[in-house]
Structures are given as C-alpha cells and as structure tokens.
C-alpha cells in the first residue's frame, strides 16, 4: 500500500490522521485502540466488505463509552421505550444511530446477525438514521444489543427526550390526496377529449356517459384532495386574514358549482379538468415545499441534550437510575465525557468541566472537591462523584427553557401579494357583472363565474411553492437545512447578523498555541512535553498534544500544585510550568491564558493559548459584512477582542461576557430598531437568542448530535458560505416575483375571454395546464440555474452526505 511510505497516516477505519504509527494491524494503521478493535471484530466476522464499499467509512471513536454505559437498559421501564414489539420468541427494538452516513453503515448494520447469534434480522431506515433490530431476547438482552452496536462503532444516541416524548407519526395524508387527485385529473382529461374534439350525431348519446363519469371522478378531488386548502383558508378567515388559500378555495367552489350546474342542466360539460388539474399541481407544490428534513429536529430542548439515566453511587455499589428519579442528596458518578445532569458538589475526584456549550467559555474549568458544579457541563477528566443539591428540573440550565418568549405572527409576502390580487379580481368581477347587467343580464352568472375561475391565484401559489421547495432541496444538499419555507423569506430579509464565538466561529475542543520568549531547544521541548504529559489539566494536555506523544516515564521530584502549575527534574534540569507566580515567585496581571516556562529557576517564556477559528472566517465576515451589519456576542472573556475586531471590521459590535439573557435582549433591541436579525450560534447559551431572532441558525459540527431549537441548521464546514446562502434566498424571492408577473399575463389573456362571457371549457382546459407547466418550468429552472451560478451542488448529494442529526 502506498500510504505506508507517507509520513501523515490516516486511520484505516475512520480516516482521521494518526497521531503515531504505533497502533497497527498487518499493514493497516489506526488512530486509536477503539478503531483497531472495531476492525478486528469485523475482520473476524468476515465483514470486511465494510471497508471495500467506501473508503474509511468509520466514525471517529473519540467518546468511547465506559463499561456500564447502557446498564440502564436493564430497567424494563426505560427499555420499553425502544421496544416496538415483544413476542415469545423475538423482540423488535429501534435505535437512533446518528453515525449512519453511507452504504457501508447499511451493510454492517444489516449484517448484525453475523456478529451475534441472538440477532435475527436488522433493517436500517437511512433517512431517519434508525435501525430496527429483531432479536431473540433469550440470547441477547437490550443492554447487550446496545453494547454490540457500540462495539461496531455505532453507539445508539439515547437522551432524556426518549423518555418523555412519543414518536411523531409520519403524516402521509397529502401524498394519498395527491395520488387521488392525479388519478382523477388524468382520467377526467381523457374523458373530456371527445367532447372537445366534437361528437357526431350518432355518438351524441355518449356525451351523457362522459359527463356523468367526470362528475363522479371530480367528487373525490373536491371532497378529499382539496381539504388542505379548505383548512388553511378557514384558519386564515378565523384570524380575520385573507391568505392565499381563500381565493383559491373560492375558485374551486365556483368552478365546481358552475360545472355541476352545466352538467345537470345539460348546457355544457363544465370545467372539471381545470379544477382537478389545479388541485393536483398545487398539492404537488405544497408537498415539495413541506417535505422538510425528517431526520433533523428543529424543536429540541435540553431533554435531548441530557442523558436518560445516570450512575448513582449507593454505599459501595453503583446503580443506574433514570434521570427524572434522581433526588437531592443522591451521589452521582460522572464518567469521562459525561454530562453533569444537575447542580451539585464534588465529593470525590476532580472536575475538568467543559462549559463551552452552556456558557461559551472556551477553556475547561478545573473544579476541586467541595466546589459547586452546574448542570450542563461536560466532564473531560477522570470519573468524579457529585452530590446533587438541586433537582434536575430546577437547575439553571433547564430554567433557560421554561421562559416564554414573545411570539409574533407575521405573514408571508406571498399572502400579502395574494390579498391585493384578490381585491383586484373581485373588482374586475364586479365590473363585469355591472357591464353585463346593463347589456345582457342573462350572461351575468356565466361571465362572473368565468372571471373567478380564470383569475384563481393558483399560479402564484404554484410559483411560490415550487420555487421554495426547490430552494429548500438545494440548500439541503449544500449543508443548510431550513425548518420551513418561511425561513427562506426571513433569510432574504436579513439586515443584521449576530454571531456567537465559542463553537460557532471557533472549533470546539481545539486550541492554538503560540510560544513567546527565548526559543526552546529540542531538549527543552522534549522536557516540556514529558512534564506536561504527567498532568491531566486541560492546558497541560493541550501542551503535551502540541509536542506530540511521548512515552510516559517517572519524573523525579514531580509535583503538581493545583491551580498553579507543575515542576520536576528531567535529565538533571529543573523545569517548571504554570502561572507566572508559580514559575517566578512574583505576581503579575495575566490578561491571557498562558503557561509560563521556568528552566532551572530561570524564566524562559510562555505559551499563549488562543481560539482555533474555523476555516474561511475571513471570507465569511467579508461577504456577510458587504450586505449586512455584523455583531458578535460571546459568553467568553475578551481576550480575543483585537483579533475578532480585525476579522469583522471596525463597524462591528463585539460584546463579551454575555449571559444568555443578554444575548436575547441584544437581539430584541435590534429588532426594536426595525432590523431583521439572523442569529448564528451553537450552544445552549444561544438558545433564547436563537428563538428570539428572525432567523436562528444553529451550527452543527460533525460529531455533535445536539443543536438547540432553531429555524435552520447549518453544517459547520459550510459556515463560510453563509453570505452565498443569503444571496440565494434573495434570488429566490425575485424568481417568485418574476413568475408571478408571468402568471398575471396568463390571467389577462384568460380574463379577456372571461369578461366577454365566452370562456369555453376548451380554452380553460388549454390555458390551465399550459400556464401551470410553464410557470413550473420557469421557477424550477431559474432556481436551479441561480444555484449553479453561486456554485452550489444541485444534484443528488454524494454518497457521504454528512447531514447533522
């Protein structure tokens, strides 16, 4: 294999760069023991096709669960949440696996029966990222099943939300309606042809047959398929708002009524084909627009962030307990990588708690025995014990969600446009009625109904639903997932973008290191790496990582002073790392996060820690600054101010040490000034601001399974394209307007027939599909062309579609 000669090796399993070449198996190199274990398991079971279907298909195994992670599945009550069927011989269970992303995943997960004889079959639902497993409960338990999945690198994601919420049923009603409408439309069109082409004298008796069949076929469309429009129009009317569905329903009613009258009185064949046609096309557009990303959740709260169960220490044994049953006074065991689920006091061990998701602080905080830890932080050190002092439901974090924000109802510009349109149509109908009343009163009804039939704003609805549907689809292929079509309009209207710093602009969990002072010799560098490798403090670990892995060894005279630093003798030299006071003995003001270096009691220099920004932040700020005002609100301290100000330009507002409420208030203040605010954030500390803003964009990084409730979810790797996305949404609005003008031209042609009172069914039958189809082609085509112009992917995404979960 050619890769063995190169210096940078990538893991055979997950494709991550390998920090060392020590973990190998045969010719293959792995980044960690976890990946190698998975490979061994698959290799022994003859499932190596997994690696042949896709290159390096595994997911990085950063957070390998500890031994008893799924102990809670032995609790019948919790396990029942994941069981869909239980029989004598077999049980069906369903797990959510956010790691599913390619055909290799599909292959492996559907071959679970080859890994364990207790599994009977398994089936993946790729869109929902779920696996349904049929297993023999006598041979494998739920807990073992979850462990089996974890051992293959697909650890089920189980959160507190699974305990409370029922799965929402997938609504397929509109798809049935579309099928029925399509069936009726096509058949009515076929049955109408003979009459349009003219029936000869001897065949005239067939006309009755055709007309009767048409009436019968139109009934399901009128009473069943068109229901969504009736419902929407009624909802609008009850709120005293004339939305776009109201004139459409009026047109459907008038067309149906007049057609029925014509057929019953024997005066004509009616407009059944036009009526069923518009219902069919409008339903298709609506389904396209509403087909949201089912596997994404935009309605998450803290419960999907919290674990479903925690380990409680009772004397000398540890038991697993469902989170809602945890009470004050319980002692929880928090393992590495676990979340602190409730406010508590550390009673054993030491906390290195990463609050970046909750407060925006970029560095983990060290907490000692007896200190208070708040819910929401993630333990990055070894296991610790915490005595619960506040119940889960009362902690600060959960209180962030129990606030009600002021929700305002705004109406889409399509509705506002249609309202004006409706008034004009009603005016034309009135004029027509007055004209015919003075000339030929017998033709009033015919002319007025013809006006209402022709002027139905279905073309407007069609153009907006099909354009929005296409835009949603294209944006989804490019890493921006919108909650609904309203979000497109709000993004297009954005005048002010507010960014969060930690986790949004910066990469969570990685730090930039910079050394200032007398340059270190290679001997000194090695010594620093060795000494730092002895400590579990986050800064020491970052330092050790910076210098590469070293073999652990005993350091004479090693001493670690908590919160101060470390020292020890390495090859006869004394080395001290830590605060300025620790290294030199005198106190100075330390504005930055630094680790000072003392060599044989002489001060050498210091390592300065800075945030590691995501790629393309410069282009993002330039592009965004060109069309919008910019602000940055961070919960972190202001160490990075100069760097950020330079990135964002002089006009940008940059505020630090912001609480979640501060952020929301800032957004509200901007809105009070009439600005349309887009908030871009990732953490729980942005949750209120995301909901307050006009468009809340949550950033989702690859491994992160959780995003707070928002209007849109943006893949972190596409953040730099945000200005392009805004531009694309603005283009979309122009496309809708253009196609609306086109549809008005069609309406003028139709109206010119209608006001004269001679709209024949044939003309209506040609005009309706012609206008609908041409508008469809124009909107669909121009939305796709605009996307290509901006360099977006428009086709089906590549197989490795890393959509956030």
């Amino acid at each position: 294999m050619a890769t063995t000669t190169s210096i940078k090796l990538n893991c055979y399993h997950c494709g991550d760069p390998c920090p060392s070449t020590s973990i190998t198996l045969g010719e293959k190199t792995f980044c960690c023991e976890g990946c190698r274990t998975v490979f061994q398991l698959l290799d022994h079971s003859g499932l190596c096709e997994y690696y042949q279907l896709n290159d390096k298909p595994g997911t990085p195994r950063n957070d390998v669960g500890y031994k008893d992670k799924f102990a809670f599945l032995e609790d019948e009550k919790i396990a029942a949440r994941f069981i869909t069927f239980r029989g004598d011989q077999e049980t069906h269970a369903c797990f959510y696996l956010p790691q599913i992303h390619c055909s290799s995943c599909l292959f492996l997960l559907e071959n679970l029966h080859r890994l364990h004889p207790g599994v009977i079959t398994s089936r993946v639902n790729f869109e929902a990222k779920e696996v349904s497993i049929v297993f023999n409960q006598g041979k494998i338990s739920m807990r073992q099943l979850a462990d089996l999945l974890s051992s293959t690198g697909y650890e089920p994601y189980i959160s507190l939300r699974d305990l409370g919420h029922e799965r929402p049923a997938v609504d397929r009603g509109n798809i049935y309606r579309l099928g029925v409408a399509g069936f009726c439309f096509a058949n009515i069109m076929l049955l109408s042809f003979p009459e349009y082409l003219g029936l000869e004298g001897s065949e005239i008796y067939l006309r009755g047959w055709f007309r009767t069949l048409n009436v019968l076929l139109s009934l399901p469309v009128f009473f069943y398929s068109a229901q969504p429009f009736y419902r929407a129009a009624w909802k609008g009317l009850r709120q005293r708002f004339l939305n776009i569905d109201a004139p459409i329903v009026l047109a459907i009613f008038v067309t149906f009524g007049r057609s029925l009258y014509e057929v019953l009185s024997g005066t004509g064949s009616g407009y059944f084909d036009s009526m069923t046609g518009i219902v069919f096309f409008m339903l298709a557009g609506r389904i396209l627009q509403d087909r949201t990303h089912r596997r994404l959740s935009f309605e998450r709260d803290y419960t999907s962030y919290f674990p479903i169960a925690v380990t409680v220490s009772q004397g000398d044994k540890e038991v697993s307990r469902a989170l809602p049953d945890v009470r004050c006074g319980d002692t929880l065991v928090i393992h590495h990588g676990e979340l602190v689920p409730a406010d508590g006091i550390i009673t054993k061990g030491q906390g290195f708690i990463d609050y970046s998701f909750v407060t925006g602080e970029s560095l983990p905080v060290t907490k000692y025995m007896g200190e208070l830890v708040y819910a929401g932080g993630r333990q990055t050190g070894a296991a610790m014990e915490v005595l619960v002092v506040k119940e889960v439901a009362q902690s600060y974090l959960t209180s962030l969600w129990n606030r009600q924000e002021d929700k305002k109802e705004e109406h889409s510009f399509v509705h506002l446009l249609s309202r004006r349109f409706t008034y004009i149509v009603l005016a034309i109908a009135a004029c027509t009625a007055i004209y015919w009343w003075s000339h030929d009163p017998h033709r009033i009804a015919a002319a007025v109904t013809a006006v209402l039939i022709v002027a139905c704003p279905c073309a407007l609805l069609l153009s907006s639903t099909f354009t929005n549907g296409n835009i949603l689809r294209i944006l989804g292929h490019n890493g921006l997932y919108l909650r609904n079509a309203r979000a497109i309009e709000n993004i297009a209207a954005t005048t002010h973008i507010v960014f969060d710093k930690t986790g949004t602009l910066t990469m969570p969990g990685s730090q930039d290191l910079e050394y200032q002072g007398i340059p270190l010799t290679p001997v000194q560098q090695k010594a620093v790496a060795l000494l730092a490798g002895q400590s579990t403090h986050p800064l020491s670990r970052a330092l050790a990582q910076h210098f590469g892995k070293t073999d652990p060894c005993r350091i004479p005279g090693f001493r670690e002073v908590k919160g101060q630093g470390l020292e020890g003798w390495i090859d006869g030299n004394h080395l001290a790392l830590g605060s300025y006071a620790f290294v030199t003995g005198s106190v100075i003001d330390e504005p930055y996060t630094c680790v000072y270096v003392g060599w044989n009691h002489r001060f050498l220099g210091y390592f300065q820690f800075g945030n590691h920004y995501r790629e393309g932040i410069g282009t993002l700020m330039q592009g965004a600054g060109a069309s919008c005002r910019l602000s940055l609100l961070s919960g972190d301290n202001d160490r990075e101010r100069p760097r950020l100000q330079a990135l964002m330009g002089g006009g940008a507002h940059i505020l630090f040490s912001q609480t979640p409420e501060d952020k929301a208030n800032y957004v509200r203040k901007l809105q009070g000034r009439g600005e349309k605010v887009m908030m871009v954030g990732d953490g729980l500390n942005d949750a209120i601001a995301l909901r307050q803003s006009d468009t809340g964009v949550a950033i989702a990084a690859g491994g992160n399974n959780f995003t707070p409730a928002s209007h849109a979810i943006l893949d972190a790797s596409r953040l730099h394209r945000l200005p392009l996305f805004i531009r694309y949404c603005r283009m979309g609005e122009k496309i809708i307007l253009t196609s609306f003008i086109l549809s008005i031209l069609y309406n003028i042609i139709g109206l010119s027939f209608a006001v004269k009172g001679n709209l024949s069914p044939l003309i209506a039958a040609i005009l309706m599909p012609a206008s609908s189809l041409s508008i469809l082609l124009v909107t669909y085509g121009s939305a796709t062309r605009a996307a290509k112009y901006l360099g977006f992917v428009t086709a089906v995404p590549a197989e490795k579609d890393h959509a956030p979960a």
């Binding site: 190596c48 599909l106 869109e127 099928g179 069936f183």
Partner: protein, 59 residues
C-alpha cells in the same frame, strides 16, 4: 357503440388498480427511505463456510 363503454370501464378499472397499488405502497413505507433499497440489493451474501478463516491482510 357499447364497445366504447366497455373500454371506458376497462380503462378506468385498470387505473383504479394502479391507484390502489400506489396507496398500498405509500402505506407500506415504500417511499420513506430512498437510499437503502437500491444499495441493499447490491450486497453479496457471503458463502457461509469460509467465514472462520479470513486473513487479516486480505484487501
């Protein structure tokens, strides 16, 4: 001319059968997952007997 009426009934009933097939397929989750089925069919079933003896360096 009853031939036309017979044909009408025949064509409509064929169409109804297809409508029924469509509704059945939606009801049985045929449209839920567009990714898995076209790939699932390409996976080979391995010969059962050679599972225990797999060499590590096989690529």
């Amino acid at each position: 001319m009853s031939a036309i009426i017979l044909l009408l009934i025949a064509s409509l009933s064929v169409a109804v059968v297809f409508l029924g097939a469509f509704i059945w397929s939606v009801k049985h989750h045929q449209f839920d997952d567009g990714f898995s089925p076209p790939r699932r069919i390409l996976f080979d079933d391995p010969p059962v007997e050679n599972i225990p003896d797999q060499s590590i360096n096989k690529k």
